[in-house]
């Protein structure tokens, strides 16, 4: 990639932080854990980026690795907590959305992890399928089919007729 860096770290953070948090919370529902992971991933990517612009997918990939590592460490320490996170994954909008945030969180929780992360990266991360493939290490076709299966499962959860 020839594009040189023009974005400051805080502009990059403002653009990506909420998306990275939502992605991290697919493994780590607790907000504090997810923040630790996003912090770790962001510092690692930003300090190691060199002189070229880093793709958004790389930030998601680093967050993914950090979240999985964090989850494994907690399992090894026997500190896995079963309590449900109190914080919503989503903002509370002034106008109620067509789909309730709690229902969407519940529906996401029922998806296999591969489908869930494809949906999160595509819908809220704004990534294209090649970028999802880069972030998750899956082939592009696999990323696309995981997304489609995930969306179909979500539609079924909300009792919507498949198109």
């Amino acid at each position: 990639m020839d594009e040189t860096i023009t974005e400051t770290w805080d502009a990059c953070y403002d653009r990506l932080a909420a998306k990275l948090m939502l992605y991290a919370r697919q493994w780590l529902p607790h907000r504090e854990d997810a923040q630790d992971v996003v912090h770790e991933a962001f510092v690692r990517v930003w300090k190691g980026r060199g002189t070229e612009r880093v793709s958004d997918a790389y930030f998601f990939a680093a967050t993914r690795h950090a979240a999985i590592d964090h989850q494994r460490r907690n399992v090894r320490r026997g500190r896995r907590e079963e309590r449900v996170s109190q914080d919503s994954f989503f903002e509370n909008p002034e106008l109620p959305p067509a789909l309730a945030a709690q229902d969407v969180e519940a529906a996401l929780a029922r998806l296999p992890m591969e489908q869930r992360e494809a949906v999160v990266l595509r819908i809220w991360g704004g990534l294209a399928f090649p970028e999802i493939a880069e972030a998750t290490g899956a082939p592009v076709d696999t990323a696309a089919s995981r997304f489609r299966y995930g969306i179909a499962a979500l539609r079924k959860f909300f009792d919507l007729t498949p198109s």
Partner: protein
């Protein structure tokens, strides 16, 4: 149909992380300049670098364009020298750079939100007692 459904999903905005996360990142990514008094800082740097700093203090006001000094009191800036002038107010440092033919003084203007670079011919760079507003 799927597009409508995806649009409905997108209408939910991911929750922002706590402000403390950005502050933690700032501490890692923007290490603060150590706050030392200017005389102590100049002594630590040694005479050549200190001379360059004094030039920066005289030649540039951070609040406006530099005037072109015309006298040389204490000596010359070493060629190919590059150093920084730190202020105790915690603002970003001035960068003082001299090549074989030009001298540059650069700083970050917080109001404009950008780096400002002033260029001087070597002959107009002055080494004089410190005079910073």
């Amino acid at each position: 149909m799927n597009e409508d459904f995806e649009h409905q999903l997108r209408s939910l905005q991911p929750a922002d992380p706590a402000a403390s996360l950005k502050n933690r990142l700032r501490a890692h990514l923007e290490p603060k300049a150590r706050k030392v008094s200017l005389p102590v800082f100049l002594l630590r740097l040694g005479i050549p670098a200190a001379c360059a700093l004094v030039v920066a203090g005289l030649a540039v006001s951070r609040r406006g364009p530099a005037t072109a000094p015309t006298t040389c009191t204490y000596g010359r800036i070493p060629a190919e020298a590059s150093t920084s002038l730190y202020f105790q107010d915690g603002e970003p440092p001035l960068q003082v750079i001299r090549t074989s033919s030009q001298a540059y003084v650069a700083w970050h203007d917080p109001k404009a939100g950008q780096e400002v670079l002033r260029t001087f011919p070597c002959e107009q760079i002055v080494i004089a007692p410190l005079s910073i507003q």
